[in-house]
């Protein structure tokens, strides 16, 4: 299986991706994760304004058979959530790196994200 792993993003071992834009990070789940889950039917997002620690369980993604926790790849305050994905959870399957994003975070420590996996390292971790 060849999952897409865009090179400009950072990744967590637990299958979240992060797109950095200054001190704002956008978070979603990887193509590999959505492919393994298949049929995403429900997404629960954190409240705007919530302060998250790195590694904190902050969202839930549910397929027909499984409920899975999403861990924040970095610490910060939630500045926006993707209402579109709550209404159409299949966006997680269709556009995991696009309209299927979960939430945006104002990073407490932008340097922290440098510790996340590169695309090459994440690819390796999923046997790609």
């Amino acid at each position: 299986m060849s999952s897409k792993v865009p090179s400009e993003l950072k990744y967590a071992k637990s299958h979240e991706w992060v797109r950095i834009d200054g001190d704002i990070a956008t978070v979603g789940i990887t193509d590999h994760a959505q492919h393994e889950l298949t049929d995403v039917v429900f997404v629960e997002l954190p409240a705007v304004g919530r302060k998250l620690a790195a590694g904190e369980a902050c969202a839930v993604v549910e397929s027909v058979k499984t409920a899975s926790d999403i861990y924040s790849p970095a610490a910060g305050e939630v500045t926006a959530v993707n209402d579109k994905v709550s209404g159409s959870p299949n966006l997680v399957n269709d556009q995991p790196y696009g309209d299927g994003w979960f939430y945006k975070l104002r990073l407490s420590n932008p340097a922290e994200v440098q510790q996340l996996l590169t695309a090459a390292d994440y690819s390796k971790s999923i046997g790609g």
Partner: protein, 407 residues
């Protein structure tokens, strides 16, 4: 209607890590294991077996079965053969339904209870010949079932008049389910009837009928018009070495009819839409068929059988818990097994628990079954399902939860 495996074999992992790895070792494999790997099946642990949960996607396979046809590996299920002059009398002592109603070539859904009325297993009993019966039991229950049957037989005065044989390891089985199945079953498995129902073709089988079928090089098959999805279809039992040939031929003949392999995930969503029980969820040794809403399959009028006294009392005096089907109101997360059930608006404590729950691919909403006090079991009763600490509205609905639109 008899299900797959069950106890301790949940398909769901509420709140688990994303793609948490499930240990897969020491698991039994069916003779179709290699075929599943070739077909890209995603393999999971289920009742001690390594089984395909899905090939393409659960929703895709579910809808294929509702619209055309799907083929399931059910080789993990167990088979027990009973034969001899005393087989019928023993079966009627062992099981809750009345086996005297079975003509040659017929099958019936039935249950095996302990003396307190608790369910040891739910199963299908087929009468293949005058004195020849086949029981199809749940994969996860083969060992306790056979041990129970053997202990009952050892204590049975007339034990010399019958033989009981666990033939689970020597047989494989598949379920072809869906409205298109009848159009290609004979093309897939050409052969001739050698026993059972008086039909000349497989597409002549009516609901619950069964035949012994000589399929040439594939050997002697047992083919029944039964299933676990609510759709028309057939269950095919074959000698283990032949089951891959059966699988391949059905898929080839079914290809123009949009038949595709389907995994345990779709099997579970399909049976849940029908309100069918799965052992380990709706049924266990502490739950009776009456509580599970299966009183129709408890034939009190046939005379004594194991569990009759407590079951008769429950039929007359009522039960303390009852299995209900429910549907979530509006858009919610899917209900899952073990989520607490609440009486709508009542603050004190949960009134019961979800035992089966999923997103319904046909209805596109959350559905499930759970146990509640009888006072909350009437159709239309508002309930609430607690999902991650929040309570969401649900309504008690009639079974089946999903009814196919008229066509």
């Amino acid at each position: 209607m008899a299900g797959g495996a069950g106890r301790g074999a949940m398909l769901t992992h509420p709140g688990g890590d994303l793609l948490a790895s499930r240990p897969v070792y020491m698991l039994k494999r069916t003779p179709l294991f290699a075929a599943h790997q070739r077909a890209g099946g995603k393999l999971i642990e289920f009742g001690g077996w390594e089984m395909p949960v899905q090939y393409s996607s659960i929703v895709d396979e579910h809808l294929a079965v509702r619209r055309a046809a799907g083929l399931f590996d059910i080789s993990h299920m167990g088979e027990v053969r009973l034969s001899g002059a005393g087989a019928l009398r023993f079966l009627n002592q062992l099981l809750t339904n009345d086996a005297r109603k079975l003509g040659v070539g017929q099958g019936q859904y039935t249950l095996m209870c302990n003396p307190l009325g608790g369910v040891i297993d739910d199963l299908y009993a087929y009468r293949l010949g005058e004195l020849d019966y086949l029981l199809i039991i749940n994969a996860s229950r083969i060992e306790p079932d056979v041990a129970w049957m053997e202990s009952q037989l050892a204590a049975w005065p007339d034990r010399a008049s019958l033989s009981l044989q666990n033939v689970s390891d020597s047989l494989g089985a598949v379920a072809l389910q869906g409205r298109a199945a009848r159009a290609f079953i004979d093309a897939a498995l050409p052969g001739r009837v050698t026993g059972g129902a008086a039909v000349s073709r497989l597409d002549g089988l009516a609901k619950n009928q069964v035949v012994a079928w000589d399929a040439g090089e594939l050997g002697s098959l047992i083919i029944a018009c039964t299933g676990y999805t609510g759709e028309d279809g057939f269950e095919v039992i074959a000698p283990a070495p032949s089951i891959e040939g059966v699988w391949t031929r059905i898929l080839a003949a079914g290809h123009p009819h949009c038949c595709q392999p389907a995994g345990l995930g779709a099997r579970d969503t399909l049976r849940t839409e029908m309100g069918y029980p799965l052992y380990g969820h709706e049924l266990d040794e502490q739950t009776t068929p009456i509580e599970a809403g299966l009183g129709f399959f408890v034939a009190l009028e046939k005379g004594d059988f194991i569990g009759r006294t407590p079951l008769a009392t429950q039929k007359t005096d009522g039960v303390k818990k009852k299995c209900v089907a429910f549907r979530m109101v509006g858009k919610t997360a899917p209900p899952r097994p073990q989520y607490p059930l609440w009486s709508a608006g009542a603050p004190a404590a949960p009134v019961g628990q979800v035992v089966s729950g999923t997103q319904s691919p046909s209805l596109e909403c959350g559905i499930g079954m759970g146990y509640v006090p009888p006072s909350l079991s009437a159709i239309g009763t508002p309930l609430e399902v607690e999902i991650r600490g929040r309570r969401w509205p649900a309504t008690v609905v009639k079974k089946p939860i999903y009814v196919a639109p008229p066509r």
